[in-house]
Amino acid sequence: MSDRDEAEPADAWDAAPGEENANLREPVSGLGGYILGFALAALLTAASFYFAGSNLVWRPSIPMLLAVLAVAQMGVHLVFFLHITTGPDNTNNVLALAFGILIVVLVVFGSIWIMAHLNHQNISPSEMMQHMR
């Protein structure tokens, strides 16, 4: 009677010590999470393909729109399929992800930026020699 463990209902989440059940408490796990993620991803993909060929939005803005849709879909995949969430077991994963995003942004945008400048200021070797004199 004094042992309150007996009063606790046995539930599906009970785990023996050492049993490896991670992420079972995550809010978006389980079948519902996958179905919701799949629906959102399909919606975003369909939107990307639709807007790529449409005249519905101002045409020069389409690449930016597609980039936003892609980032949104990557977020959906991370949360619903890869289960990168704010749960306590995920702290390290989130930090690693943040670092990965930093490197990816540096590599991609740094390359585009530098190469655009080089193209812009393309100097032939003979001109370069004159500049250096």
């Binding site: 009677m1 004094s2 309150r4 463990d5 009063a7 539930d11 599906a12 989440w13 009970d14 785990a15 023996a16 010590p17 050492g18 049993e19 490896e20 059940n21 991670a22 079972l24 408490r25 389980g30 079948l31 996958y34 993620g37 799949f38 991803a41 399909a42 993909t45 990307s48 393909f49 790529a52 060929g53 389409i62 690449p63 597609l66 980039a67 849709l69 892609a70 879909q73 990557m74 995949h77 991370l78 399929f81 890869l82 990168i84 749960g87 306590p88 077991d89 390290n92 994963n93 690693a96 992800l97 670092f99 990965g100 490197i103 990816v104 590599v107 991609v108 390359s111 585009i112 190469m115």
Partner: protein
């Protein structure tokens, strides 16, 4: 007696009594419970394996970002050859995207069946995942073979070199993933739901979903934006 039990309940509300579950209780009150933190006990091997594999995936994504950067820089350098606008068949890309996204979903369904320890369901969803992935690789291979047969191979221009490098590298990853998938199905069938097999399945799931994330970048940047150039 009822007073004692309500008192116990109140105490439980303040702080969950969790002698052996090591923070895996489903009753909320999360703080300080996570495995690997404070009183949560050591993190399970599954969490550590997932973390290590996640770091590998991120380094793989960093490698892909270099290919993406090369493509972004070289997309306009067609050397008088065909541009993305002339080459890309968006209907084919839409089918490829649907195949890969659906295979990611069925892979997730397989992981749920694994959680429930249903052998046949797990094998079935893994098989469906593999077939969808195989169809994706087949379509991509056909696209490449068609382009090369028309003399539009990777040596034609810098744009095409970067295109084949980026998309080909992703296709190679999917092909390797298919080999891994076959191996996992065989291992699971022979050895059953052992902890080591479960961890490998977790890693395979992460790998397959990460490939889909990279494909989002490819179909957006290479195909959709590229065909509008």
């Amino acid at each position: 007696m009822s007073a004692a039990s309500t008192h116990a309940g109140a105490e439980q509300d303040r702080r969950p009594h969790d002698p052996y579950k090591l923070g895996r209780s489903a009753h909320g009150h999360e703080h300080g419970e996570a495995t690997g933190h404070g009183e949560g006990g050591p993190a399970s091997k599954r969490i550590i394996t997932g973390y290590g594999f996640w770091i590998f995936l991120l380094s793989d994504i960093v490698m892909f970002s270099a290919f993406f950067a090369a493509y972004a820089v070289l997309a306009g350098e067609t050397a008088g050859g065909p541009s993305g606008h002339d080459l890309f068949d968006l209907q084919n890309v839409a089918i490829e995207t649907a195949l890969l996204l659906t295979s990611s979903f069925t892979c997730g369904l397989g992981s749920i069946a694994t959680q429930r320890r249903k052998m046949l369901q797990t094998q079935l969803w893994l098989l469906v995942t593999g077939l969808l992935g195989f169809a994706f690789v087949l379509l991509e291979f056909r696209e490449f073979a068609d382009m090369i047969a028309h003399g539009i191979g990777p040596q034609r221009s810098a744009f095409l070199s970067s295109f084949f490098a980026l998309v080909g590298c992703h296709g190679l990853h999917v092909s390797v993933g298919l080999l891994w998938l076959g191996t996992m199905m065989a291992q699971l069938w022979v050895k059953g739901f052992r902890p080591a097999i479960l961890r490998r399945l977790l890693c395979f799931n992460l790998f397959w979903h990460a490939l889909d994330i990279i494909w989002i970048g490819i179909f957006t940047i290479v195909y959709l934006i590229g065909s509008g150039l």
